[in-house]
Symmetry: C2
Subunit: 222 residues, 2 copies
């Protein structure tokens, strides 16, 4: 199967992984609303997918439904968290405490999914020793030491593009398993390290593509 994805190291397309994340969020909403079970068509409809899509996505990983019942929300949450690896806590180190780094340190969406930013790093001595949203800022020079001491699994790169590769190299040398890169530069990592690049312009291109598709469809004779 072609990978067709930004995620490396697996045969499952990143679009499937992306939808698993969306199913997980929706199942949490359902549980919070007191719903115990849901069918694939109900789950799909709430997110704009077909029931076949939901079943196909989950079939990559096993059989999770119950005949005549559908999915048990709490059970499926556990299973998806296991698949995504978020049934455990991940310690995250963030490199680069500029505006973006600040924003990420204050981002509420990480902790709720099992990601705990335990340290931030910056080359600027004026920032070192600060505490931002409960996260201490260390010198970049101490990165390797702190990654080991704090058992940091994942690194987030929030430095300018020119420092992105050097930062990735430092994180890899320190022993992280995966990297999320926000710098507008494609970093190289060795095979045993996972990486995902966030390109914010690409997200805007999804919006304009959708706008243009609508305009094109409206212009077509029906």
């Amino acid at each position: 199967m072609p990978n067709g994805s930004r995620t490396e190291g697996g045969a499952v397309p990143s679009a499937v992984v992306n939808r698993l994340s969306m199913y997980l969020r929706e199942l949490h909403h359902l549980l919070a609303d007191g719903k115990q079970t849901i069918s694939s068509s109900q789950l799909g409809r709430r997110l704009g997918f077909t029931d076949a899509q939901v079943r196909k996505d989950l079939a990559h990983f096993g059989h999770f439904g119950h005949p005549g019942i559908g999915y048990r929300c709490d059970e499926l949450i556990d299973e998806i968290r296991k698949i995504l690896g978020t049934d455990r806590q991940w310690n995250v180190g963030l490199v680069g405490v500029g505006n973006l780094g600040h924003a990420l340190l204050g981002y509420k969406g990480f902790a709720s999914q099992g990601f705990r930013i335990v340290a931030a790093f910056d080359a600027d001595p004026a920032k070192q020793g600060q505490d931002i949203d409960g996260v201490p800022v260390y010198s970049s020079a101490s990165l390797a030491e702190e990654v080991r001491r704090l058992r940091i699994d994942l690194g987030i790169i929030a430095v300018p593009a020119t420092y992105a590769q050097a930062t990735a190299d430092m994180l890899v040398a320190a022993g992280v398993s995966g990297i999320l890169n926000f710098a507008p530069f494609t970093v190289s990592v060795p095979e045993g390290v996972s990486k995902v690049g966030v390109d914010l312009a690409r997200e805007l291109e999804q919006v304009t593509f959708s706008v243009m598709s609508r305009l094109r469809a409206a212009a077509e004779p029906s």
Copy 2:
């Protein structure tokens, strides 16, 4: 075809649109390196996709290759920009000038793809009248007026989750065509407006999924 995507309003999966963005970036690199033409297998290899994937993605939109030559880089760049809608400039308004808003105003990746942030909006009077990276900050109350005056096409939501829906409503009422939402809250928009939600934890889940896939593969007897 199931949509299977975060993008609304089109039958083409968002994963395809995502890859078009990646092809576009790579073609720009190739042109900058003095390369005039490229085959689907060369383009695919540079990004970790098969040549079949590249051809299938482009076949959604037409026939762009030349027998015995492959793709002409400049020609394919023009075609992909037309498909994505980035062959024109889009005026963008950003709402919420906190850390994330600041980071987005300074993000270099938007302008290079045809996105021009022409105005920022914030409810805090202390921020109004400021100029951040060349972008003036207006009061949220003047949003409708400025969207019309500055011909703003797209809105970026960078406010806290509790204000996300009200901000989306204001942008829609003001007449934007599309919205990119960074708030950790799913906003509703009417059918004629495109929206994409950015969930940063979902990006980290792509990383952990890849890490877990690697660990699972290593644990399997070969």
